[in-house]
């Protein structure tokens, strides 16, 4: 019997770890850069641009991001489960076109509104059906329905536009909240909705299960999460909200046409990703996404006020998006690279030996 060379030592079972501070747990590493960037750009813009921090401009800014902010909310949930919905802008257009046709046909606007929302839910449910029941990849499905829904909008309206909406509805959607200049009521409504989504995502069992689905669908299934049903309802929700955005868009601009909001889906996705949601699912917060939406809007607005032309704006948008993912990774990898204790390391050869 060989003697034991080390005496048995008591092992620490659990190293007591410092509880993460309140703030740090509120802001995860992924979204804090966006929130910071938003604050910095707001401060900079108000400081250097007289016209920026006016009530009127804030109103413009909020109205211009309202539709994107709306659609970004359900998109956040969908991307967290590892799926994507590229048909939102087309859903918006189709429900706008439907509203136009219904209104022209003399249907009262309230009824027409409701019909549109129901239609949006149905369009979303169709996506959900294809993704969950038939098991098709959502990226492919929603590229298909993106074309289909946009196409149906053309079928409905063709080259016409409907612009005869009642004036009080049209100016109504732009009305300020409690008479506060620069605060359209729609922004307040979206803020309330965002709070609702945040609670749903971050403080309920359903929210937790969304992250589980995104990280490991199989494990979620084994834990009793109704994966398909959840995803189906998410797509339905996305369709409903997109059609709500369509109604809002229609009244905001006072017109319905088939080519409305063309290409907006990528802007929504960009805002969501900028907000720190992982495209692979399982990661992201509502706060981050809302900051992402506002950051893009603020930069756009500020540059427009400066008279910067559209192409530069496009470059800046792209670079912000890239920086949002590259920056944190770069910092992390630099941090990793710095301290490597080399005391015990002798000179070594690389790879193959002689």
């Amino acid at each position: 019997m060989a003697p034991e060379r080390t005496a048995p030592a008591p092992r620490p079972r659990e190293e007591p770890a410092p509880r993460p501070g309140r703030v740090r747990s509120l802001l995860s590493a992924r979204e804090s850069p966006v929130v910071a960037a938003l604050l910095v750009s707001l401060v900079f813009a108000s400081f250097f641009l007289d016209m920026f921090a006016t009530g009127r401009n804030m109103g413009f800014l909020l109205l211009s991001v309202a539709a994107i902010a709306l659609m970004a909310l359900p998109m956040t949930l969908i991307v967290i489960t590892g799926e994507i919905d590229l048909s939102v802008a087309s859903t918006l257009a189709l429900s706008s076109a439907t509203l136009g046709v219904l209104w022209e046909a003399g249907i009262p606007i309230e009824t027409a509104l409701l019909i549109c929302l129901v239609l949006g839910a149905a369009l979303g449910a169709f996506n959900g059906l294809l993704v969950t029941v038939f098991g098709l990849p959502s990226l492919a499905v929603t590229i298909g329905t993106m074309a289909l829904y946009r196409g149906l909008a053309y079928v409905l309206l063709g080259d016409r536009a409907v612009a005869s909406y009642p004036q009080d509805w049209v100016s109504g959607v732009r009305a300020p909240f409690l008479g506060i200049a620069g605060l359209p009521w729609i922004a307040v409504a979206i803020l309330a909705l965002a709070a609702l989504f945040a609670v749903l995502l971050h403080a309920t069992a359903i929210g937790r299960s969304l992250y589980d689905i995104g990280n490991n669908t199989e494990a979620a299934r084994f834990t009793g999460v109704p994966v398909r049903r959840t995803e189906f309802w998410l797509f339905t929700l996305s369709g409903t909200v997109a059609s709500g955005a369509g109604v809002f868009w229609t009244l905001q601009y006072g017109t319905s046409r088939a080519d409305t909001a063309f290409g907006l889906e990528l802007q929504v996705v960009a805002a969501v990703l900028l907000g720190g949601v992982s495209i692979f699912g399982g990661v992201g917060t509502v706060l981050g996404v809302m900051s992402g939406v506002l950051l893009l809007g603020t930069v756009r607005n500020a540059l427009q006020l400066l008279g910067v032309s559209g192409d530069v704006l496009q470059i800046v948008t792209g670079l912000i998006l890239i920086a949002s993912v590259v920056g944190p990774n770069l910092v992390a990898s630099l941090r990793r690279r710095i301290p490597v204790p080399t005391i015990l390391r002798p000179p070594t050869h690389h790879g193959e030996r002689p």
């Binding site: 868009w249 006072g254 046409r257 909001a261 008279g307």
Partner: protein, 328 residues
């Protein structure tokens, strides 16, 4: 600026009184909002506009997005309004969607001039030509080249394009007349002002209408695509291609015989007139009432028609003889 009170409040209509002797003040800021940036046509137009503004001692700015959408145009209208622009010259992507923003900018003291493609709430509209004149020119070109007899189709821009649709409607009305009974419009397709799509639509047209004699494209992108398609296909010389195009783009096709003639107004003059009109309107020289006349710099005198509309003139027809004289 000091002439705000010369401008009537209450948007939209050419009302109020004009003072033909009012001076155009120095330092007017004039913002040009084309349908989209980086559109070669608008580059030429806005160059003309900038020239007029410069002559008047003002400052011209071009604002716009790289995509021709109403929502991004609204953002630029808002920005123009914010920075206190005196004149907004706009080619609307959507005649209605831009109006709330335009009205707000007008409340801030700006005057609104439409050009190329009007919105429903401009103070005045500078039309490159009247719909009647353009429709007539297009029909005349087809009629002339086909000898009054044959089938033709239209390759338009987007299905929503306001002015293209107005011209097509005008053409259809003219064609109803007896003198054009030999001409038959068999199809209208849309290439969405995209080279590739226009090209494909062109392919579709010649295949689905074997007896097609002519294609009319009332848009520069469409006409270039159609000419390019025909020039290296078996239809060259068989199929008449005409419409509205830019001489620079079309030169090659006119010289190689693909295209006999096509038409366009002078984009430079369009911008020039729009810029001048805007300044005159802001100064109170004009209000846009029917019958009002004013002198737009080098271009001479113009008279307002109904609804505050100003017409640049009939389109210019280009052919092998004159195309090399026009360098744009």
């Amino acid at each position: 600026t000091t002439i705000d009170d010369a401008q009537d409040e209450g948007a939209g209509g050419p009302t109020g009184t004009s003072d033909p002797d009012a001076e155009i003040p120095e330092g007017l800021s004039v913002d040009f909002l084309p349908k989209q940036l980086n559109n070669p046509f608008f580059d030429l137009v806005n160059a003309g506009g900038a020239e007029a503004v410069e002559e008047l001692g003002g400052e011209a700015t071009e604002r716009g997005a790289t995509e021709a959408t109403a929502d991004s145009q609204v953002e630029y209208i808002n920005a123009a309004g914010q920075v206190g622009s005196d004149v907004i010259v706009i080619a609307a992507n959507d005649p209605d969607a831009v109006c709330p923003a335009l009205d707000e900018a007008r409340d801030g003291g700006a005057v609104i001039v439409g050009y190329d493609s009007n919105a429903n709430c401009t103070d005045v509209f500078v039309n490159q030509s009247s719909n009647e004149l353009i429709g007539q020119a297009l029909v005349d070109m087809v009629d002339g080249q086909l000898g009054g007899e044959g089938e033709f189709a239209i390759l338009s821009a987007t299905p929503n394009a306001t002015n293209q649709n107005a011209w097509i409607e005008e053409m259809e009305q003219i064609l109803d007349g007896d003198e054009y009974s030999g001409l038959e419009l068999v199809d209208t397709v849309y290439g969405n002002d995209d080279d590739l799509e226009s090209f494909q639509e062109m392919q579709g047209l010649v295949q689905s209408h074997p007896d097609l004699d002519a294609v009319v494209s009332p848009t520069t992108v469409g006409l270039a695509a159609a000419s390019r398609y025909v020039s290296d296909s078996e239809y060259q010389g068989e199929l008449v291609v005409t419409g509205l195009g830019e001489p620079g783009q079309m030169r090659e096709f006119v010289h190689d015989g693909t295209v006999e003639e096509f038409a366009l107004w002078d984009p430079h003059d369009l911008g020039y007139l729009a810029g001048y009109t805007g300044a005159a309107l802001q100064a109170g020289q004009i209000t846009g009432a029917e019958g009002e006349t004013f002198t737009a710099g080098d271009l001479g005198e113009f008279t307002f028609e109904t609804d505050g509309e100003l017409v640049l003139g009939p389109p210019l027809v280009f052919d092998a003889d004159n195309i090399d004289d026009h360098d744009f």
